[in-house]
């Protein structure tokens, strides 16, 4: 079947098998290998991308379900050479080690901060509870997200609470 998906602002039309998973469409068909496959069962969250404005586990979403929708991946977090505060936070706070879970973590964290720019540590933990990290014990991931929250509040007190309507997220 033929699908058209707007990925990170660019339109891609491809002939795919109906059973093709979104994670494989992104990785194998489009070469966007930043999103990772980790478990097949929606438990680990290494594959989290945004479908429109909602984080989804792309290992259990069919590519066909993204037809006509917008997908945002980790490759789109950095804009115009400027890192997203979440990306900065993960570096500043040693929020990653092997880096395998990191893209999914950051996409979920970005979605959290768009929804709730000032989360508590407990709210960050709850938001990340569908993401598994085997390296950090989550300690520094939580700190990273809180760092990003503080940084964006400091940088832009009037920061919008959600992504812009073009699907490219907050500028």
């Amino acid at each position: 079947m033929r699908i058209t998906v707007i990925v990170n602002g660019a339109s891609h039309t491809r002939e795919v098998e109906p059973r093709l998973l979104l994670i494989h469409f992104l990785r194998d068909d489009l070469g966007l290998t930043g999103s990772h496959w980790g478990c097949d069962t929606s438990n680990c969250g290494a594959c989290v991308v945004w479908l429109d404005e909602t984080p989804v586990k792309s290992c259990t979403v069919l590519a066909a379900m993204a037809d006509g929708h917008r997908v945002r991946t980790v490759e789109d977090l950095e804009r115009g050479g400027v890192l997203d505060p979440v990306q900065q936070g993960f570096t500043e706070c040693h929020g990653l080690q092997c880096g395998f879970c990191t893209p999914g973590m950051m996409m979920t964290a970005r979605a959290l901060l768009d929804r709730n720019p000032n989360p508590t540590a407990a709210q960050v933990r709850e938001a990340l509870s569908g993401q598994i990290c085997r390296c950090t014990g989550y300690e520094n991931i939580v700190r990273s997200v809180l760092w990003a929250s503080a940084r964006q509040a400091e940088a832009d007190p009037a920061r919008p609470g959600g992504p812009a309507l073009d699907g490219r997220g907050p500028a």
Binding site: D28, C39, F100, S129, Q131, R134, T136, G137
Partner: protein, 788 residues
């Protein structure tokens, strides 16, 4: 804390060089490798734990339009490749030829044009199995009539693998005979799985024209893998290049060779095209790299006033269907005999008996230096059991028996020489950080209200950095590591090391090590690793050995560069090299701070037309091979605080305090991250992680829905502190930290839960302490109370 000669400011928190690519999703993991014409492999696995293969029909799969090759055990046997060597000197079936011996065992390998077609074709293969009785319970392995698993080995009549012992049996028996108190516990360390988030995988590319085989693999030990491939395949080593690109966590699970790697290699040779194989999560959990599975009986002997007199242990080790455990050859039970832990125990003896069962092979060191985790768990549970028996506070009992600083270097009763430590101070720091006395007061109040709050303590001594070549090798490869250091004319440096990072941050830490020795910025030192064509030989990253061994090699190489630089500096400054002192990261004329040169200027001179002194032909490059004189012994004291819900059995870890002594810390930020990881591991292993089986050998833990791992919600915010006793035999005093917390923390969690349940009379629950297991123990205790 700084080491002699280290440039000021080189050690300390330093943002990781690795992060720039990972936060952009720009890492290169094995599954990210895509080569022109690449094919995809998939493994057909056995649905049965024990069965004879009576028929195998691949014709329909081979006829699939997108299938390029189907490989069977028989085909491999014709090339002499059906059985591969394990890390323990046993053999393991690459693809089964005669029988299947565990559920998930590799039976056939399909290579197709895409991932999905390869999976489709698996469904087209027909295998006829004649079921055989499975042996699942290790305790039945040696009974008369037990099914014989390894009938591939001529003359074998039992499932026995080895008996191994350490310590002085007579002295230990005498100590027990003279003791006031003896306490025993049967303790199961359940089968666990490291479950790195990236599963195992490979891309094999055999170049038909050059004969060169390039293997991108999830390998923690690329040089060992290359040598194994060379001997197994009959290829010269220079025609094999093993690349470990970015690795999504290893934790020991990526040390062994797996059949899928070899199948992909053989398939690439057959098809003359690159072949990728990446296992899925079920395959990962069912077929690769289990850990632990030790069934332990431990006894502790003491005086009535709490002086420990002796320890003994008898262990039944379940090694699965092939003996593929990872540890130095002469240590079939790893370093389990370090089981006297952090205590001054006069006499000790342990024996380990290993058997085959119809379960996946493995026995990897899951963030554990070769069975030290099992050893620490045993002694820490026994000390707590002794405390209960004596009615003593577990902390005071520990303080009474901890090794004292003046006892180091300490020779343990099983022959280990501990390097350094201040155990009482480390425990004291933990008590202070936790507010131990306040916690006990709070516990008493809560108990008064019927609440179940527990405080668990664990002291541990790890044994890492394997190891001295005279004693330690993997399949005959001595455990020494090389390092090569190039210094470019402008003073920028490239360090090539054999160990391989799977998240430990070597690209940063090792740059800091070299920077400290040469007075450079860590940003000016690039670390090359994970590629056998670009790095010197060494044994790899596991057993917390990177900093103790490869890190030391890097220091030695850097100091050789520094000494050569001294001679060149002498020529530059027109003084004798003996008149120069290494000060502030520069060679300086003694007594004349105004005359000094740094490595960049010296490097330029060493590459220039300057007339160099005799013996110096030019350039500063140097290299080293480091053969460690001893292991290093990181240690620590951990305190875990839990609340147990008496109605549901749910354990909530409220606080976790960890005080680690890993010697000199090069990058404290990275050290803390390593400790965080291990604490989460301990919580997971103690409370939820178990690879379990039913009586037929069906693996019940084949997905993350069944094999539970801790998330951010189960983990508390960890509280860390440190003590530092430099390792006296390591060139910068470092000891290694990668596994300490996994080694030390499970016992603290279990001790805390048992402490919580003390008012009910519960004295032991095996891991994992799931809500169901805890609830059952509570109910059983209440039923007992009701009867009494």
């Amino acid at each position: 804390m700084n080491a002699a000669g280290a440039a000021p400011g080189a050690y300390g928190p330093h943002a990781r060089k690795e992060d720039a690519r990972f936060i952009r999703g720009a890492g290169t993991f094995v599954d990210d490798v895509a080569l022109t014409g690449m094919l995809h492999g998939a493994v057909l696995r056995s649905p049965l734990a024990h069965a004879r293969i009576t028929g195998l029909d691949i014709s329909a799969a081979a006829a699939h339009p997108k299938v390029e090759a189907v490989i069977t055990g028989q085909m491999l046997a014709e090339q002499g490749l059906a059985w591969m060597p394990t890390l323990s000197g046993d053999v393991q079936a690459v693809l089964a030829t005669d029988k299947v011996r565990f559920q998930g065992q590799e039976v056939a390998f399909v290579v197709a044009q895409d991932r999905y077609s390869a999976r489709d074709a698996l469904e087209l293969i027909t295998v006829d199995y004649e079921p055989l009785p499975p042996l699942i319970d290790a305790k039945r392995a040696l009974l008369d009539g037990a099914p014989l698993i390894r009938d591939d080995q001529p003359g074998r009549t039992t499932n026995h693998i080895f008996d191994w012992e350490a310590g002085d049996l007579q002295a230990t028996d005498a100590a027990f005979a003279g003791a006031d108190v003896v306490v025993a516990r049967d303790l199961v360390y359940p089968r666990s799985h490291p479950a790195p988030l990236e599963t195992c995988g490979v891309v094999a590319d055999s170049d038909r024209i050059t004969g060169k085989l390039t293997v991108w693999a999830t390998s923690q030990a690329p040089h060992v893998h290359r040598t194994l491939y060379a001997t197994f395949l009959g290829l010269p080593e220079h025609k094999i290049r093993v690349i470990s690109p970015d690795i999504g966590g290893g934790f020991g699970s990526k040390v062994p060779l797996y059949p899928g790697y070899l199948c992909a290699i053989v398939a690439s040779m057959r098809t003359a095209r690159p072949v990728k194989w990446v296992e899925d999560r079920s395959e990962n959990l069912m077929a690769t790299a289990f850990a632990r599975d030790y069934h332990m009986h431990g006894e502790i002997a003491a005086t009535r006033d709490g002086r420990i007199l002796g320890l003994r242990a008898s262990v039944l080790a379940d090694h699965g269907a092939f003996n593929a455990t990872a540890q130095p050859s002469r240590f079939p039970a790893g370093f389990f005999s370090v089981f006297t832990g952090s205590y001054d125990v006069p006499a000790a003896h342990c024996q380990v008996r290993a058997v085959y069962t119809n379960k996946a092979p493995g026995g990897v060191a899951y963030a554990c230096s070769f069975r030290v985790t099992e050893a620490v768990y045993l002694v820490e549970r026994l000390v707590d059991a002794l405390a209960i028996e004596l009615g003593a506070d577990p902390v005071r009992l520990r303080m009474r028996n901890l090794l004292r600083p003046e006892q180091f270097p300490y020779r343990s009763p099983t022959g280990w020489e501990y390097d350094s430590g201040d155990y009482p101070r480390t425990l004291a720091v933990a008590l202070q950080t936790a507010g131990y006395d306040d916690l006990r007061r709070e516990q008493a109040e809560r108990r008064g209200r019927g609440e179940l709050m527990g405080i668990g303590v664990s002291c541990f001594t790890d044994a890492v950095g394997a190891g001295p070549r005279a004693h330690m090798d993997i399949l005959g490869l001595g455990m020494a590591d090389g390092a090569e250091l190039r210094v470019h004319p402008t003073g920028k440096a490239v360090l090539a090391v054999s160990c391989q990072t799977q998240g430990q941050g070597h690209e940063t830490t090792f740059a800091q090590i070299v920077a400290a020795e040469l007075g450079l910025s860590a940003d000016d030192v690039e670390v090359v690793h994970g590629d056998t064509d670009r790095t010197p030989f060494g044994l790899g990253t596991y057993g917390s050995r990177s900093t103790p061994v490869s890190g030391a090699a890097a220091v030695v190489a850097a100091r050789r560069v520094r000494e050569r630089a001294r001679i060149v500096a002498g020529a530059m400054l027109e003084v004798s090299p003996q008149d120069l002192a290494w000060t502030g990261g520069r060679w300086q004329v003694r007594g004349d701070p105004g005359r000094s040169v740094g490595i960049p200027a010296i490097a330029m001179a060493a590459h220039s037309a300057l007339d160099l002194p005799d013996g110096i032909e030019g350039h500063l490059d140097d290299k080293a091979v480091y053969n460690p004189p001893n292991l290093t012994f990181p240690n620590g004291a951990y305190i875990c605080v839990v609340d147990v819900d008496p109605g549901t059995g749910v354990v909530t870890v409220r606080r976790f305090i960890a005080v680690d002594d890993c010697g000199v810390r090069i990058n404290p930020m990275i050290v803390a991250g390593q400790v965080h990881r291990g604490l989460a591991d301990g919580l997971g292993i103690a409370l939820m992680q178990e690879i379990s089986f039913d009586a037929d050998g069906n693996c019940l833990s084949g997905s993350f829905m069944d094999y539970l791992l801790p998330t951010a919600v189960e983990c508390p915010s960890f509280e860390l502190a440190e003590t530092v006793t430099p390792c006296p035999h390591h060139p910068i005093g470092a000891k290694g930290i990668g596994e300490s917390a996994t080694v030390g923390s499970p016992a603290a969690v279990v001790n805390a839960v048992i402490d919580a349940l003390r008012p009910l009379g519960v004295t032991h629950i095996d891991m994992p302490m799931t809500p169901a297991n805890v609830w059952l123990a509570i109910e059983a205790a209440r039923a007992r109370d009701g009867r009494e």
